[in-house]
């Protein structure tokens, strides 16, 4: 029993540097492009997992697979609440929501909008694709360019926040173990109390 306890504690400490398990989706909006990646908390990306993007009416607007780094990218044609679902195909499913209010005011018409190839790793490409007409840029266009630029700058921060939010903390793991031991102690106390009284 002591050995088991020792192994449990050992596993507890090794867990801090090991991979953890839950699948999550990071998704962000730059202009009209939803991009992001699936990731397992602690490390690892779902390679070749199915990606489905649904609009508000639960209609599939994009079907694809994640690239080697778990990434996906999709240029939207309208404004809606988009739900991104990443499914590894064996029980790991994660969702992320991009709400309609994150889209800038009337989206630039883009009749040829097509899903961009999966794994378009260069976030700057969206900014380059934005319409710019030199000095003739309208207010709406400037606003859109600014929004894309801000989204581009903010993305690393959002990624960092998502990662911080999803990490396993040693304190939590130790707290969990102590909680279980404590519950065991309560159980022992309760049973000894019960049997003591009845004797």
């Amino acid at each position: 029993m002591r050995l088991l306890l020792f192994v449990a504690v050992l596993l507890g400490f090794s867990a801090t540097c090991a991979h953890a398990h839950k699948l999550k989706v990071f998704a962000t909006l730059e202009g009209q492009t939803i991009s992001g990646y699936g990731f397992f908390i602690g490390g690892g990306r779902p390679n070749g997992a199915e990606v489905v993007i649904k609009d508000k009416s639960a209609r599939d607007v994009y079907h694809g697979k994640t690239d080697a780094r778990g990434g996906f990218s999709f240029k939207t044609t309208g404004t809606s609440d988009y739900t991104i679902v990443v499914n590894t195909g064996e029980g790991h499913i994660a969702k992320a929501l991009i709400e309609a209010n994150r889209f800038s005011s009337p989206p630039a018409p883009s009749p040829t909008a097509e899903p961009t190839p999966v794994g378009d790793g260069d976030p700057g490409s969206a900014a380059q694709a934005a319409p710019t007409n030199g000095n003739d840029a309208s207010e709406a266009e400037i606003q859109q360019i600014v929004e894309i630029a801000v989204a581009h700058q903010v993305r690393p921060l959002l990624e960092k926040i998502e990662a911080l939010d999803s990490r396993l903390r040693l304190a939590d793991i130790v707290a969990g173990i102590c909680m279980i031991i404590g519950l065991g102690g309560i159980g022992l106390w309760a049973t000894s109390r019960g049997s003591g009284k009845s004797r």
Binding site: M1, L3, A8, K22, G48, G89, G91, S195, K197
Partner: protein, 233 residues
């Protein structure tokens, strides 16, 4: 994998899992005594920690469950062991979810309990190395049972989430092998060093058959069961 999050499963699947787990917990309470509690707590802590550590395999990642080993060592107490650990994982790390606690417990503890009950008599009788082999086989089957359970839970809930058999096989087979090795080594070791740890089911954990007998003849005093005094508290 085995930690199905909230919001994916249909109500009947969630309810079915919750009812089965509640029944399992109530049944396990009959085996609660001074000897089973510390053992359950230690194995629950091991499960809590080991199922946090996952290794990427292909498009997915897998983690240990130790359900076969827990089934052999704990018998019915595997249900509270897994349940408590899953509550903590859901509350602290958001792994799985609170609404899916029942079905997740069923998917992990159920196969462990069944396989443990099936193989425990053979493990108890066998020599250490042979017991290890049987224990490994038991652990591998328990993992396979969990794979089938998770796939069935998702497939029954929505055809969108029906897992692909090919990916399940690709991810679960390595896990079955690793679990078999770990359980095999642990059982061999326990059999050599502390063989009574594996025979506990016959001495103080009330196995299914004995509990049935106790149930049929309530007047028979059972030395292994803890008398519960309703007025004690």
């Amino acid at each position: 994998m085995a930690h199905i999050p909230d919001g994916l499963l249909s109500i009947p699947v969630l309810l079915g899992g919750a009812v089965a787990t509640a029944g399992g917990l109530a049944w396990a309470m009959r085996s609660l005594n001074e000897e089973t509690i510390p053992r359950t707590a230690v194995l629950s802590a091991m499960f809590f920690v080991s199922s946090l550590i996952a290794v990427p395999v292909g498009p997915s990642s897998v983690h240990l469950m130790l359900s076969g080993l827990m089934g052999l060592l704990l018998g019915p107490m595997i249900v509270p062991a897994v349940f408590i650990a899953l509550i903590l994982q859901a509350a602290m790390f958001g792994f799985g979810g609170l609404t899916t606690l029942g079905i997740n417990t069923l998917n992990i503890a159920g196969p462990g309990l069944l396989m443990g009950a099936m193989f425990a008599p053979f493990v108890q009788r066998a020599a250490p190395s042979r017991a290890g082999l049987i224990g490994g086989f038991c652990a591998a089957l328990a993992v396979a049972g969990t794979g089938v359970g998770v796939a069935a839970s998702l497939a029954l809930s929505s055809s969108d989430y029906t897992p692909s058999a090919k990916i399940i096989i690709a991810t679960y087979i390595p896990l079955m092998a690793v679990e078999a090795v770990i359980a095999g080594l642990a059982i061999t070791f326990l059999k050599r060093v502390k063989p009574e740890a594996l025979t506990l089911r016959h001495s103080s954990i009330t196995p299914l058959r004995v509990s049935q007998t106790t149930f049929d003849k309530p007047s028979t005093p059972d030395a292994n069961s803890i008398p519960v005094d309703q007025n004690a508290l």
